[in-house]
């Protein structure tokens, strides 16, 4: 369902920062995210070219020459100056951006179901998708697989780092039910660009379909106290 996507980061590097830093394949963020990012980024370039082209041209073309003391609109202290407007032009730059943002809003609506789908649309719990409980506490993540198979969901501790580790299976649909015991946290599945706050007292949820195998990190994205930066867990995805 989701294919690994390489490219937007590199493109950003090339286009906007500097052409010298290249060759690092950035691969974070889910599929929906990457497609949207590419479209938004394309339109950003278009808008930037128009605005900055316009700005540069006018900054140099309409600069006053040395020694000139022009007064184009006869500004006089204490007099409200002559109106300078063009209604049709002003309406144009209300309508065109409106169309653009309506389009951008429209294409943003679809991928929302990747983030918070209605469970009944996905199918039957335990067949079409599996639920894992994820609890944040100062400052570690706790996973509860319920009665799932150890192949589908397994909790352990990483030998090397001592971080808590969750093993899940590739291409299986998971629904994480998230809560916290003390303060607000936010599990951030960096690889898939997914996060949702873990709020004490309520349950939130997030859908995740791991699409590549390997070891990935879950960071905490909502400030939660002293060891916020060290609140990391490992998500291991296997075949």
């Amino acid at each position: 369902m989701i294919t690994a996507h390489v490219g937007f980061g590199e493109r950003l590097t090339t286009v906007c920062i500097t052409a010298t830093v290249r060759g690092i394949a950035v691969d974070v963020g889910g599929d929906a995210y990457n497609e949207l990012f590419d479209i938004f980024f394309g339109w950003s370039i278009v808008v930037s070219v128009i605005v900055f082209g316009w700005l540069l041209h006018h900054s140099f073309f309409y600069r006053s020459k040395d020694g000139e003391t022009p007064n184009i609109d006869d500004l006089v202290v204490g007099e409200f100056p002559r109106h300078y407007h063009n209604t049709s032009l002003e309406i144009t730059w209300v309508i065109i951006p409106t169309i653009l943002i309506l389009y951008l809003t429209y294409i943003s609506l679809g991928p929302v179901s990747d983030v918070w789908e209605d469970p009944s649309v996905v199918g039957v719990e335990g067949v079409d998708y599996f639920e894992i409980e994820l609890t944040g506490s100062q400052w570690f993540w706790d996973f509860d697989c319920g009665n799932l198979d150890s192949d589908l969901c397994n909790v352990g501790v990483d030998d090397e780092t001592g971080l808590s580790m969750l093993s899940v299976k590739k291409d299986v649909v998971y629904r994480f039910n998230i809560t916290a015991t003390d303060v607000t946290h936010s599990p951030y599945f960096i690889q898939w660009g997914a996060k949702e706050d873990a709020v004490p007292g309520i349950y939130t949820s997030i859908w995740l379909t791991p699409d590549i195998t390997g070891e990935f990190f879950i960071d905490c994205a909502e400030y939660c106290g002293d060891d916020h930066a060290y609140m990391t867990a490992i998500l291991e995805v296997h075949e």
């Binding site: 995210y33 022009p70 060891d227």
Partner: protein, 775 residues
Amino acid sequence: MKVNKKIIAITTLLIASLLLAPSLQARSGGINNVDSSCTCHSGTASSDVSPFMTLGNGSALPSEFIADETYTFSFGFTGGPGTVTDAGRQNTGGFNLVANSGTLTILDNSTQMIAGQLTHSTLGNDQMNWSVEWTAPSSGSANFQLTVNSVNGDGTFGDEDHWAQSTFTMNAVGGSGEVATSSADGITVLFSAILLVALMLFISVIYVFYRMSPDSFSWSAFVPWIADWLTSTDHKKIGTLYFVAGLFYFVVGGVIALLIRIQLAVPGNDFLTPDQYNQFFTLHGTVMIFLAAMPLLNGFANWIVPLQIGAKDLAFPRVNAMAFWLNPAGSILVLCGVFSGTGADVGWTAYQPLTSWVSAHPGTTFWLGGQIMLVASSTLAGINFITTICTMRTPSMNWMQMPLFTWSILVSMMCLFISIPAFGVGLIEAFLDRTVATAFFNTSAGGDPLLWSHLFWYFGHPEVYVVIIPAFGIVSEVLATSARRSIFGYKSMVYAMAGIGFVSFIVYGHHMLTSGMAPWLRFVMMLTTMAVAVPTGIKIFNWLKTMHGGSLVYRTHTLWSLGFLVTFTLGGISGMFFPSIAMDTHLHETYFVVAHFHYVLVGGTVFGIFAAIYYWYPKMTGKMMNEKLGMLHFLIAFISYNGLFWPMHRLGLLGMTRRHHTYFIQANEYSDVVGTLPAEVASWNTFITINAFIFGLSTLIMVTNMIITLVKGKKAPADPWGGWSFEWLVTSPPPTPSFDELPTLIDVNETSDSKKENWLTRLMVPNDSNEEVVN
């Protein structure tokens, strides 16, 4: 001279009490300290408990360490009530470990770092031995002070629980055992910097007093002079006070930012402890928004708005003075925690229940109290400006003839006045939670953490427009005057500003797109947030069109306005990425957000403030600023600004998260630390830190320029730039009262049939004859 003696006596007393006060020493022996006993059990010291400390493999602690080597220690205790293992006993052991040099790194969930000291966590409370990793310093000796607690586990505190303390020492190989030069402690640097800046401010005040009349200098004139400033209700003097206070806190906030950047320059840095880092980013946000940006803008509003509308003062001069004086009072509360090392550590957003129920810093309570004062101050300022602009315009000035800066202040004060009560309510609830244990945000008693998020962001989003809309007004004035044109589409500019003000109230939920609020609310917020782009776009296109056919005179303020157009547009474009929910789940709380809001708040508000300083400084002081220094400031600041914030976009895309004390990069040839981020993140962060220092130092060029100008600048004419509004009518600096008789506005458009009314002008521009005009 009687007064003088009193002042000298009081000053001497104050200095003496400052010197005697234990505040600066309190940090090493204060609350939660374990130098002499354990905090969690009031047990007795006993020799039957013996602490031990060995290497991780069980062999004895060596007397010498190898420089920069990493060791694993195993430590704990034997003996005492904790060793008796009856069934049902829990929480039998605890410890605290302080290393005077080197770095302690936690290994597992059984231990945690609190304020730079290692102690057990809830999970490690049942154990009697723990382990930790320690990286040796490059030289000197290391002392480990281990305090252990052997507890009988009956759940009560008492004399039957025992504790003991031992010190273990290791020396560098071949080292003499000399203590290595201790590195600077971040929080010491900060409070030293604050005191230093305050001292500089004090010296500047004395110097200004001296420069006023160098020939007839006399201390006896000082008290009446300063008393006149401190008790003034004149809008110009209060404007200057706002301005001085704003610049002071701008420097303080900048110093905090630079210390944060030192910490983030390299991965795994330990210049600041997590505890200090958390205080730093909290105070950076609070100081910059509430104590720097808003007072600076209020300073301009105080100075310029009455002049622009042809009023002799604000409607309520005394309320104006009170609104100002609540600021320094509140700021003392906001910052006082720093001086005991326990400032607010909850982030400027102060999410719950962390703020009310978990943060143990007393500074957090004071910080909340201080902000309640700032809320009161903003409310008073809001009432004052709205009333002034509504009722005190010179009789010949209609709504649609007000200068755009005045319009922008009206819109921003409306936003502030309507939104800030929600923040005040939230703050008072949090304050009560912390002080008298109400349960607004106590989740175990049914409190709701999302309540705070709603109250805060209902205020928080209009708040960022409160500080950006005046910058719109400034740029409109500066750009039109510099291009020698009237602004393009005056009316659409006004409607766009009002539109932004209105929309700001219905978009706040986009700060909470991943907060766990109902999904359908998030759809609404996505739609409304996208709509912000329309009025903002109108403004940008109108500014560009204003330059068309003009004759742009390049001055420093012109450059800052053009710079504003570049950076604000970039900030606006990056803002379009957040309302799209599928992207926001990745970008939320990453450095992409940090980049975005610094582009609009620094590239927008601060650049606007810089433009305003260069534009109105001649009017305020009667002296022309040095253009060459101004250009130099712009060039250095603009380039380093982009070097500072642009790479943060990329850091965010790579997954670097905000408010992390430090970060780790993936294993490479230099390091085998397991980290979450690609190696390039480290290089970008170093680059950002270098640019941050250049940007910070470039501000000093402006301050120098301001001081040089004040002392020996050329005299400014009444209208140095050729603007049309009333502030250019009076002399520079303006007399008090500014106008002997109220000026009359002539509208060059009214000669034709432009007064024709239609339904729209009747709706939007009510006839003023129905309103009572008070002058």
